[in-house]
C-alpha cells in the first residue's frame, strides 16, 4: 500500500508537470488546445494525488496528515483541488494554472525531502482536536498559497500597468498632434473607473499578435489578467483562509490544553502561527483602509505567507 501511494504520488507529480507546461504554453501563445489538454491532465493528476493520499492513510492506519511529508502532500492536493474546482470557474483565471501548478510541484518536490515511511504516531499526537487542527491548517495553508501566487502576479501586473500608464501619459501630447494612423501598433482604449476615480489605459490585447507582430511577444498589457482581477482573486483566497486559520489556531490551543495543560505556551510553533495570523489580519484591515489597498496590502500578504513558510520549514526542521 505504501508503494502504491508513492507510485501514485509520482504519477500525480508528473501529470502536474505536464499540465503546467500546457497551461504555460497557453499563457504564452494563447492557443486554446493546450489549455483544454492541460486541464484534463491536471484533473487526472488530482485523481492520482487523491489516491496517493488515501492509500497513505490506509498504509499508516490513521488520517494521512501526521508528519511533514504528508502535510505538504495534502497541502498540494488542496491547492490543486481548490484551483481546479473553484478558482477555474472564473474563465480568466484559467490563464494562471501554470503558476498554481508550479507552486504545487515545488511543494511536492520539497515534501519528498522530508519523506518518512508511514507509521503510527506517539500518544500525544493521537487526538481528535489535533486531527481537526492539522486539517484546518492544511486547507488554510493551501488557500494562503493560492493567495500568495495571485498576490505576486498582482504585484507584477500592477507594475506593468503603471508603466503603461506612465508611457501613455508621456505619449499623450504627441498623439494629440499626430494625425489618424500615426503608426502606433496597438489600439488604445481609455477606461475610466468611477470607483477609483482614475482612468486606466489599456492596449487592445490581440491585435499585435496575429499579423506583423512576433508571435508570443508580450503585449504591453501583458498576458496576465488585469491587476484588479488578480487582487480580487488573492483577496478571496485570503479572506477564506483567515477564519480557517483562526479555527486552526483555536483547535490547536484546545489540543495543547488537553495534552500539556496549557492552551498557549508561546512555543515557536505557536509564536509563528500568531505572527501569521496578525499579518493577515493586518492585510484584511489594509484592504479596508484608504491608501493601503492595493500594493501595500499585497506586501503585507507576502509577509504573512513568509511567516507561514517559516513556521512550516524553519520551525519544524531547525528550531524544534
Amino acid at each position: 500500500m505504501t508503494e502504491a501511494s508513492n507510485t501514485t504520488f509520482g504519477v500525480a507529480l508528473a501529470l502536474y508537470l505536464v499540465a503546467m507546461i500546457g497551461y504555460l504554453h497557453n499563457f504564452a501563445y494563447r492557443r486554446p488546445a493546450p489549455l483544454a489538454a492541460a486541464r484534463v491532465v491536471a484533473y487526472l493528476g488530482l485523481a492520482a494525488h487523491a489516491a496517493s493520499v488515501v492509500l497513505r492513510g490506509l498504509a499508516a492506519g490513521r488520517v494521512p496528515w501526521g508528519n511533514m511529508y504528508e502535510y505538504a502532500s495534502v497541502v498540494g492536493l488542496a491547492v490543486v483541488a481548490v484551483y481546479l474546482l473553484v478558482v477555474e470557474r472564473r474563465v480568466e483565471a484559467r490563464r494562471l494554472g501554470g503558476f498554481v501548478l508550479g507552486a504545487t510541484v515545488l511543494i511536492m518536490a520539497a515534501s519528498t525531502m522530508v519523506y518518512v515511511e508511514p507509521g503510527p504516531l506517539i500518544p500525544a499526537l493521537n487526538s481528535g482536536w489535533l486531527r481537526v487542527h492539522v486539517l484546518a491548517a492544511i486547507v488554510s495553508s493551501a488557500l494562503f498559497t493560492l493567495g500568495f501566487v495571485f498576490t505576486v502576479l498582482y504585484l507584477i501586473q500592477d507594475r506593468r500597468e503603471r508603466r503603461v500608464e506612465r508611457g501613455a501619459e508621456q505619449r499623450a501630447p504627441a498623439m494629440a498632434s499626430a494625425s489618424v494612423g500615426s503608426g502606433l501598433p496597438h489600439d488604445l482604449a481609455v477606461e475610466s473607473d468611477p470607483e477609483e476615480g482614475r482612468a486606466t489605459v489599456t492596449l487592445g490585447p490581440e491585435r499585435g499578435n496575429g499579423h506583423g507582430g512576433m508571435p508570443g511577444r508580450p503585449t504591453r498589457r501583458g498576458r496576465l489578467p488585469a491587476s484588479a482581477a488578480l487582487d480580487d482573486l488573492a483577496a478571496k483566497a485570503i479572506t477564506f483562509a483567515f477564519p480557517l486559520w483562526t479555527f486552526a489556531v483555536v483547535a490547536g490551543a484546545i489540543w495543547a490544553e488537553q495534552a500539556w495543560g496549557r492552551y498557549w505556551g508561546w512555543d515557536p510553533k505557536e509564536v509563528w502561527s500568531f505572527v501569521t495570523w496578525v499579518l493577515f489580519a493586518g492585510y484584511l484591515h489594509a484592504r479596508a483602509t484608504q491608501g493601503w489597498r492595493g500594493r501595500r496590502a499585497a506586501v503585507i500578504a507576502v509577509l504573512g505567507f513568509a511567516a507561514l513558510l517559516f513556521n512550516l520549514i524553519v520551525v519544524n526542521l531547525v528550531v524544534s
Binding site: Q258, W266, W272
Partner: protein
C-alpha cells in the same frame, strides 16, 4: 501652562490609541516580541541554556538580560504592550459599539437625493403610491431586508447589519480573549508531582516536586484533596513505539475515595477546578539498606533517565547514608530488562531487573545543595562495585547490606488550575462566529419613494453598498425588477 500641555499631550496619546492602526501595530510588536522569545532561550522554561549563554558569552547575555529577552513574556515591555493593546482595543471598540447601537435605534430620515446615489432606478407601477410602497415593503421583507422607516409613501431598508454586529463581536471577543489570558495567569497555578505507584499525593503547595508556579492573585487556594496512584502502565506497539501512558488513580476527599479514574495522554483528570495531566513516568526500585541489622532506607527511589525517548539507557539514582562514619553513598544504575540491554534492544518492560551499584565513602558534602540523583564525588572514594538482582541481597565491605526488594513505576503529573479556560473557550468560539459575517456579508441600504403619476405611481429607488459594491450592482438590478415588475425602468 504646564498642565495645559500635559493634557494636550495626553489627548494626543489617547487619540492615537483610538486608531485601529495603533492597535494593529501594538499587536504586531507583541508578535515581534514573541519572535524574540521563540529564538532566545527563555529562563522559565530552559534555565540551563540561559546559564550556558551567561558562561559562554557574558556580555551578550547581560545585554539580553537587561532587555528582558530571557523572560520575554514576563518582561516589563511585553506587559506594557499588552496593556496598551487592551486600552487601544477598548478605545476603538467603545465608540464603534455606541455608533452601532445609536444607528439601530435611530429612525432614518427619508433620503432626498435619490438620483445622486450610486444606484438609482425609477419606473411606473400600478395602484396608488400607498399600495406601491406596501408592495415594496413586503417584497423587501421577503428578501430579508430590514425595513426601517417610511411612512405612507416612502421607505428605507437595510440588509447586512450582521457584518457590523459580527465584526464588533469578533473584536470584543478578541479583547476578552486577551483578558482571559491574564485571568488564567493571575489566578491559577501550575505544579509538577512525581508519585510512585501505591503512594498518595496531596494537592498542597508543599507537596509538589518544586514550588508550583502560582499566579499573583492565586492566594494559596490549593484544594487539599488527595490522589492515590494505584498503578501506572505504558503499552507499546510492536515497533516499540509507546501506544499509551495510563495512570489509574483514586481521588480522596477527607479520607474517603470519591472517584476512581484513569489519567492518560490527552485525557486529563479534572477535579474541583484542578486538572491533572499525564506528563512523564519512570522506574522506582525499592531498595532496603541495612547496617549491622539496622534498617537505614527502604522507601522506593525515583530513578531518572537522561533521555526518556531512549529506552536503551539504564536508569540512574543514588542512595546517601550520611549517618554512617565515614559517610557512604551508592550510585545505582537500573536495568529493567538486562537481557534486552545486552542484546542492544530497548528495555520497555521489567524482566528480571538488575541493579548495578558503585559504592563510595568519605564526605557526601550534604551541607551544599545537590541533586538527589547523583553523588558529589570530590571528597569520596570508590570502595566497591557490583550488582544485585531483584529479590537478592549483597553485602558490601564494611557491613552495609543492600536488598533489591521490588520494582515499581512512578508517574509524573502536571497539576494545573486555570480559571480563565472557560472564558477563553467561549471567546474563541465568539471570535469565529463573529468573523464569518464580518468577512462575508456586506451592508447595503435602499430607499424607495412613491409619487402619483397619471393613474398609477412612479416609484423611485436609490441604494448603495458599503462593501462589495460589485456584487450589489447585480443585486440592485434584481431588486428593481422585483419592485417594478412591468413598469418602464430607467437605470441611468
Amino acid at each position: 501652562m504646564a498642565t495645559g500641555s500635559f493634557t494636550r499631550g495626553m489627548r494626543s496619546v489617547w487619540r492615537s490609541l483610538r486608531s485601529m492602526r495603533t492597535a494593529l501595530i501594538l499587536l504586531l510588536l507583541l508578535g515581534l516580541g514573541s519572535v524574540v522569545g521563540s529564538l532566545v532561550p527563555q529562563a522559565p522554561s530552559s534555565p540551563a541554556r540561559v546559564a550556558q549563554l551567561f558562561a559562554d558569552r557574558p556580555l551578550l547575555a547581560r545585554v539580553h538580560d537587561a532587555l528582558g529577552f530571557f523572560d520575554v513574556y514576563g518582561s516589563w515591555w511585553f506587559t506594557l504592550l499588552y496593556v496598551l493593546l487592551l486600552i487601544s482595543l477598548a478605545a476603538c471598540l467603545i465608540p464603534r459599539t455606541r455608533g452601532l447601537v445609536r444607528g439601530m435605534a435611530a429612525r432614518w430620515q427619508p433620503a432626498r437625493d435619490l438620483e445622486g446615489m450610486r444606484h438609482f432606478a425609477s419606473g411606473r407601477v400600478e395602484g396608488s403610491p400607498q399600495e406601491a410602497v406596501g408592495r415594496a415593503r413586503r417584497a423587501l421583507r421577503r428578501r430579508g431586508w430590514g425595513v426601517r422607516s417610511g411612512g405612507e409613501t416612502a421607505l428605507a431598508a437595510e440588509k447586512g447589519l450582521a457584518r457590523e454586529v459580527g465584526s464588533l463581536a469578533f473584536h470584543w471577543a478578541f479583547f476578552l480573549l486577551l483578558i482571559g489570558v491574564v485571568i488564567g495567569r493571575g489566578f491559577g497555578f501550575t505544579g509538577q508531582a512525581t508519585v510512585i505507584e501505591g503512594e498518595v499525593f496531596t494537592e498542597a503547595h508543599a507537596s509538589y516536586d518544586f514550588p508550583p508556579r502560582e499566579g499573583r492573585f492565586f492566594d494559596e487556594a490549593h484544594r487539599g484533596f488527595q490522589v492515590r496512584v494505584l498503578d501506572f502502565e505504558v503499552s507499546y506497539r510492536e515497533s516499540g513505539l509507546p501506544r499509551d501512558f495510563v495512570s489509574r488513580v483514586e481521588v480522596i476527599e477527607e479520607g474517603e475515595v470519591v472517584r476512581t479514574e484513569e489519567i492518560r495522554v490527552n485525557h486529563p483528570l479534572g477535579h474541583r477546578g484542578v486538572k491533572l495531566y499525564q506528563s512523564g513516568y519512570g522506574w522506582a526500585p525499592m531498595v532496603e539498606v541495612r547496617h549491622e541489622g539496622e534498617l537505614l532506607a527502604s522507601d522506593p527511589l525515583v530513578f531518572v533517565t537522561d533521555d526518556p525517548n531512549d529506552a536503551l539507557r539504564p536508569w540512574r539514582g543514588a542512595i546517601k547514608l550520611p549517618g554512617l562514619v565515614p559517610q557512604v553513598g551508592l550510585e545505582l544504575q537500573l536495568l529493567p530488562d538486562p537481557a534486552a540491554f545486552v542484546a542492544g534492544r530497548p528495555m520497555l518492560e521489567a524482566r528480571d531487573p538488575f541493579l548495578a551499584y558503585r559504592a563510595f565513602r568519605g564526605d557526601l558534602q550534604l551541607t551544599e545543595a545537590q541533586s538527589v540523583f547523583r553523588l558529589e564525588k570530590e571528597r569520596l572514594e570508590e570502595y566497591d562495585s557490583g550488582g544485585v538482582a531483584i529479590g537478592e541481597t549483597v553485602e558490601l565491605p564494611g557491613g552495609v547490606e543492600v536488598t533489591f526488594r521490588d520494582l515499581r513505576q512512578y508517574t509524573q503529573l502536571l497539576v494545573k488550575r486555570d480559571p480563565g479556560t472557560g472564558l477563553m473557550l467561549a471567546t474563541a468560539v465568539l471570535v469565529l462566529v463573529g468573523l464569518i459575517p464580518a468577512l462575508y456579508s456586506s451592508r447595503r441600504r435602499i430607499w424607495v419613494r412613491a409619487m402619483p403619476e397619471g393613474d398609477g405611481t412612479r416609484l423611485e429607488i436609490g441604494g448603495f453598498a458599503l462593501q462589495r459594491k460589485g456584487a450589489f450592482d447585480e443585486e440592485f438590478g434584481r431588486l428593481v425588477r422585483d419592485l417594478v415588475p412591468r413598469g418602464r425602468v430607467g437605470v441611468p
